[in-house]
Amino acid sequence: MSAGLRAAFWRTLLIQASWGYDRMIGIGMAYAMRPLLPTDPSTGAASPDVIARSAGFFNAHPYLAGVAVGALSRAEVDGVGSEQLARLRAALSGPLGSIGDRLFWGGLLRAASGLGLIVAALASAPWAVAVFLLSYNIPHLFVRRWAIAAGWREGASVSRALSGFVLRGAVVWAQRLAALTVGMAVPIVAATLLRPYTGSLVGGALAVALAVTVAGRWLAPTLGGMRLALLAGGAALLGGALWP
């Protein structure tokens, strides 16, 4: 990795810092692309046109945004026309969001979380934290590094890197692993958390769990578990205030 690519890689770790409803991560893209952009030999700075283009609207998964950072910067260096650059920018946004969301949020994060929950319930919490952070961040940082390097290598032809079999296979296997580990974690953690309770309280907690599952999945899916729990908690607090 060249010094410029390394600097851009570190900057991609902050790519969402200025996330806003108008340009989403557009400002972060411009910030991350700076070390890779072509500079004017007389001023040593990137041309204002290039900076203005790089700060436009953009949205992608933060871990895969490096693909766009690398590809768009390389395309600027290669002197690709502004219309083609705009098309490339627009074309990258959707796939980088979709693949990243399914690979990380829908797959790897849940798999690592399930693994961490199992270790916490069966062994010890410090080990669980270590297992969770390592099992998540080793692939996470590997993909981040691959993303910016692949984008920089391929430039305007970066779609080749995204259509690779390895990435598609990783999405499928991450989601399978997530289903397996979360499915395994829920009964194990439930048994651990319900251990201090006895008799009717265990039955009541499981009834609440079933009600929340049905409500959250089918009856009121937009409400979310947190709001359902706050409603239940509010009712329990009110009942508790009246119950000596």
């Binding site: 806003g20 700075a45 900076i51 203005a52 949020w105 580990t181 929340v212 729990a229």
Partner: protein, 221 residues
């Protein structure tokens, strides 16, 4: 006082990890709660609230512009309530406060995003002119806003935790009942999350295999 300061600083790290810096998942409640428990000298309390809130977090899918709860800051506040108290009595109240703080963190993120957009709009002419310093200033401003959000929400959570700890909100039986209700809600939310994202037709077999393996472990253990 030193415990509160340590938790506040930990809250800053956790809050910034959620969106702005790295997303290394330090903000997950399992991590945030466990470390908060170690900081206040009661690892068990941090692990317990971390486990419950991690189950809630399994239902979060932070795609696109969606707003999502800040369970990491919630876990810190919940640990501050539960630390040093018997688990059956403090878990329910801690988790309820944790959920409230998580919701406050979510609202704070919304305000930060709006403020970032407003700041960008005021700098439109400079951005259109390609001023690199404006890009850096806007980016740094966003980072500072998110840091301020983390400190404010965490501070608010710790203040509420101190109030909850010093007030007898309910009797022991009601506190135990609240704990069981919150654990039930957490299990139900995790099951919803599993069905929503990984329970589609192609992964149902994997989910079923996981549940069967989990039940087997419970029976053996």
């Amino acid at each position: 006082m030193s415990n509160a300061l340590a938790l506040l600083l930990w809250g800053l790290v956790v809050g910034l990890d959620l969106v702005s810096i790295g997303q290394f998942m330090i903000a997950r409640p399992l991590v945030a709660g466990t470390v908060a428990g170690l900081l206040v000298g009661d690892p068990g309390a941090g692990v317990a609230v971390g486990l419950v809130l991690e189950l809630f977090a399994l239902d979060v899918m932070p795609v696109g512009a969606v707003r999502y709860p800040d369970y990491g800051l919630g876990a810190i506040a919940a640990t501050a309530v539960a630390a040093g108290a018997p688990a059956e009595l403090a878990l329910g109240l801690g988790v309820v406060l944790g959920l409230v703080v998580a919701m406050a963190g979510e609202f704070g993120s919304h305000l930060v995003r709006e403020a970032n957009a407003a700041a960008t709009m005021t700098q439109e002419p400079a951005l259109a002119a390609g001023d690199a310093r404006t890009v850096t200033r806007l980016h740094g401003g966003g980072l500072l806003r998110d840091g301020a959000r983390a400190l404010i929400v965490c501070g608010l959570g710790l203040a509420l935790a101190a109030v909850v700890r010093s007030t007898a909100l309910m009797g022991a039986r009601a506190a135990v009942l609240l704990g069981a209700v919150m654990v039930g809600c957490a299990i139900g939310t995790a099951a919803t999350g599993a069905l929503r994202v990984t329970g589609r037709r192609e992964h149902v077999g994997w989910l079923a295999a996981g549940v069967a393996a989990g039940l087997l472990v419970v029976m053996i253990a």
